[in-house]
Amino acid sequence: MVSKKVCFVSAVLMIVSSWTVFAQASGKPVTLTFWCGSAYYNSDEAKKPQSEWAITRIVKGFEAQNPNVTVDVTPIEVSSETIAKFKAAAIAKNGPDVIELWTGSYLFPLKDILLPLNKYIPADDRKNIGGWDAVTYNFKLDGEILGYPIGNNYAGLVYNKALIKAAGMDWDKNPPRSTEEFRAALRKIKGTGVVPFGFDGSKGRILHYATIYWWVEESGYERLVSDSEGKTKYADDKGFINLMTYMRSLYADGLTNEDAATSVDYESKFSTGKYAVTVGGVNNARTFEQALGQENFGFLPFPSMSANPKVKASIIGGPGNCVSIGNYTNNRDLAVKFVSYLCSKPAFIELTKSVTTFPSRTDVTLDDLGWTNDPFRQKIYTLSKNFAFWIDNSIPAFQYDEMKRFFPNVLTGKLSASDFAAQMDKLVKDNM
């Protein structure tokens, strides 16, 4: 009786699966759904009809190659809320076939609803796309690959050349190379009556762009991960304590904006010449460049905090996003084909005309992108050969959120660096 049931179920499954394959092969219309995030469209495009977006042109190219396929693109903002919606839709098995997500620690908890791509990825993609470790479960080389890495953003310090020159310095020729040289330079700028270093401590950009870089540099990734897993303590991590102490001292010495803990307008103040230095990535550099003019806009790799750095990279970044496939999809092969197409060289060249992030393909040259006359992008392109990967994508999200929440308190001296580290250890312990 049982075997009869098994036979019946197997027969039904075989009929359904062969019908799906037959439907695709025989030209039966198939619709792929794609929840597409901001790695595929920019804020200017968002103001225009979707038919004018770069991603629409890319999708049309795919549809032209696959006449029986329609891709239904839904723009989303990748966020914790969207991920929660995706989880609910995936459980109900009506989620999108393809979705843009964040990489690393944001991606790994979704393993149970994503299709492992290891056996589907063409060799050419494996070879020519960088950043696979960011999408490989728990960063382990033999783990499941949960998406294609995309949306490469890189960050460092950006500065107003005119204000630096007014303080008697030329960072193009002689940039500060250590954090103490950087402090001395900020003091000189302060002497000219300008706010030397402006940022917003509560929104997190200063934290995941600059501050955290110094942590990786001094402590190294292994220590960072072992702190976050509770195997070692934040309280004993010199790198963590030093960076917090350093940022606190910059604030206490009046080398940052007074409202660094709560500022809502540091970008506009930097753009209007009120701050000399701030943190910036390729995603907001274009705005700064337009506001200050190319001749006044400068990019500074991070000065080094440590004499013996464990990681020496100068910039932080990498693929912060990825495109993944739901494991419930009825169109696995087609979805993989679509994702591979999205990450093809022509697709990236088309996309880069619109978005600011860099392609994750290593075979796309500056010439291909038309950036040969763009000194900022040239510089980033060169530096991006060696970068430190985003820390907020490397440690569990709740721990990074706690850092973001309490960093303003450390900055303003309401919480000491060591108390903050102890608080992080307690959080790790409570969540184990």
């Binding site: 914790s80 809320e81 991920i83 929660a84 989880k87 609910a88 995936a90 459980i91 908890p109 979704l110 149970d112 609803i113 509560s202 007074e258 409202d259 803990a261 709560t262 500022s263 809502v264 307008d265 569990p396 999200a397 709740f398 959120d401 929440r405 309490f406 303003p408 308190n409 303003t412 309401k414 919480l415 409570d430």
Partner: protein, 295 residues
């Protein structure tokens, strides 16, 4: 039971069935589901093990739970302030003070603006470089120009100001409705007996709109526990640290900011429900006593 009675019962049940079904579907099921999930370690996906009261115990052992609960109680200050201002506004409108038609619309205006917009407006006004500090500096009170949103008490103060500002119109309309329901002959009689404005207000009007004030208090207290999310989100984002986080905002943070926080978020929602229920019962008891004589 006779056939007729049976038929009547069937018709009655059929008549109320749609409402009962809607209530069960949209109220009872989510409520039951939240209570059940509060006893699990639900991560929003497939992990859904029963863990008893662990979520509750864990919450009670954290410092931030008690801090956020304390913040909710501090936020209560907005209730008497908005009720009082609403009452004054309604009295001015009721007495048809000069320009009352214009002010009637003006007072209600904040109510039709989105809470998030009001929040961002207050965040901008009270930002370090914002108009409030600008005015303080302009009048020579630079020492008072502080980081309003960077400290617990001033941050909560800004949120309370926003709550009061947005609710004045609603409170005014509510009280005005209560006042309009009073028979004008009562006021006439009071006037003929020589009662002045204040005597009419305190000894005639207020007792007669006691039930309206009670409703306003109960609703506002429940709202203060459950409706502050858009304000906190847009004004302080709960910071610095957890200094201005309220319980309803914490529910959101647990649910969407942590990998496995949905079970804990449900536990917080259940705690919130219990607190609101207890407070409502207490308020009703106090209010019933106060209103006994008028009934």
């Amino acid at each position: 039971m006779s056939d007729r009675k049976r038929k009547e019962l069937a018709i009655s049940l059929l008549a109320i069935a749609p409402v009962v079904l809607v209530l069960l579907g949209f109220r009872a099921y989510p409520l039951g589901s939240v209570i059940y999930n509060s006893l699990t370690n639900w991560d929003g996906l497939f992990r859904h093990d029963f863990i008893g009261f662990k979520n509750f115990l864990r919450m009670f052992h954290t410092d931030y739970f008690w801090l956020t609960l304390g913040n909710c109680f501090i936020m209560f200050i907005n209730v008497p302030i908005q009720v009082l201002i609403g009452l004054v506004v309604s009295l001015l409108l009721y007495e048809k003070t000069l320009g009352w038609r214009f002010f009637r619309s003006l007072y209600y205006l904040p109510q039709i603006v989105s809470a998030v917009i009001v929040g961002y407006l207050f965040a901008t006004f009270f930002s370090y470089g914002g108009p409030v500090n600008g005015i303080l500096k302009a009048v020579g009170a630079s020492h008072l120009a502080i980081e309003w949103l960077g400290n617990r008490l001033t941050g909560i103060g800004v949120v309370i100001s926003a709550l009061v500002w947005i609710n004045i119109g609603w409170q005014g309309v509510l009280m005005l409705g209560g006042l309009s329901a009073i028979n004008p002959s009562v006021f006439e009689a009071a006037r003929m007996d020589g009662a002045n404005f204040f005597q009419r207000t305190f000894f005639v009007m207020l007792p007669m709109i006691g039930r309206v004030i009670e409703y306003s208090f109960i609703y506002s207290v429940a709202w203060t526990f459950t409706g502050l999310f858009p304000f906190i989100y847009s004004i302080t984002n709960g910071g610095p640290g957890y200094d201005t986080t309220t319980l309803d905002f914490l529910v959101y943070q647990k649910a969407f900011r942590e990998d496995a926080g949905l079970g804990q978020a449900c536990a917080l929602a259940v705690i919130l429900l219990a607190i609101v229920c207890v407070l409502t019962v207490i308020q009703r008891k106090i209010s019933n006593r106060a209103n006994e004589w008028s009934e």
